[in-house]
Amino acid sequence: MTIAHGLTLFEVGRTFAQAVRDEPAVKSLWASAHRDYFELWLVTAPVDADTERRLYGLIELLFEAFPDARIRLHVINREAFEDFELTSIVPRGAENYSAALVLDDGCADERSSAQG
């Protein structure tokens, strides 16, 4: 999907996946496109506040790569959810970029089965 300036969800998702691929706490990455902004959903293992803060700071790479795009980052720390259920958090239609992380903790299956 293209929003503005020819930028696609794929470019945004892939770029962020590359930025976080070496982060051990990262479990999966989802991305969705809206009328005038992109959203990224980074699912992590239980992490402390310092780790979260560092992950949030990586949005700087997206701002540098795509200076005109509106991009919102959500770090989804499983520990902060009562009855964690990915499908109730990530919007329907979000694309899974976990493969670009070369990580798979079963979230992709969880999502697929919930939508399937």
Partner: protein, 135 residues
């Protein structure tokens, strides 16, 4: 200091005080509404950033996305981009995700670390003392 800057700083201080009071109060509502401490904390950070942008650049952000980009763009604030973005997202999740829970410890961390970092960066750039302290 410009009057609009001062107004933003006063609102930031008020929102920070509200966040702290939510954390320190005893609540009959259970679980205690710590999620609103995070929301108030985020809006304290919003006004801190607005104060900086107005005083230093005569700029009023259009919306949250614009403000966040400004944090990333200006060297004075860039070191706290992670803290600011975390506060923004915690406040988002607290408001919109029905199963998201903010513990007392998480609320304290958001206010005493994330918000405090943003506040320090802004006050340092403005050459002002910490909010609430005598000049």
């Amino acid at each position: 200091m410009d009057a609009r800057t001062s107004a933003h700083l006063r609102r930031a201080e008020r929102n920070r005080d509200i966040a702290r009071e939510i954390i320190e109060s005893s609540w009959s509502v259970q679980p205690a509404p710590y999620e609103w401490a995070v929301v108030a904390g985020f809006y304290a950070a919003v006004h801190d950033v607005n104060a900086y942008l107005w005083e230093k650049h005569q700029y009023e952000p259009r919306d949250h996305d614009d403000r966040q980009r400004a944090v990333a763009r200006h060297a004075d604030l860039k070191p706290v981009l992670g803290a600011y973005t975390r506060l923004r997202d915690l406040a988002f999740q607290a408001r919109y995700m029905a199963t998201f829970r903010v513990t007392e410890a998480a609320a304290r961390a958001a206010v005493s670390s994330d918000l405090a970092d943003v506040e320090r960066a802004v006050m340092s750039a403005l050459g002002a003392g910490p909010a609430g302290s005598p000049d």
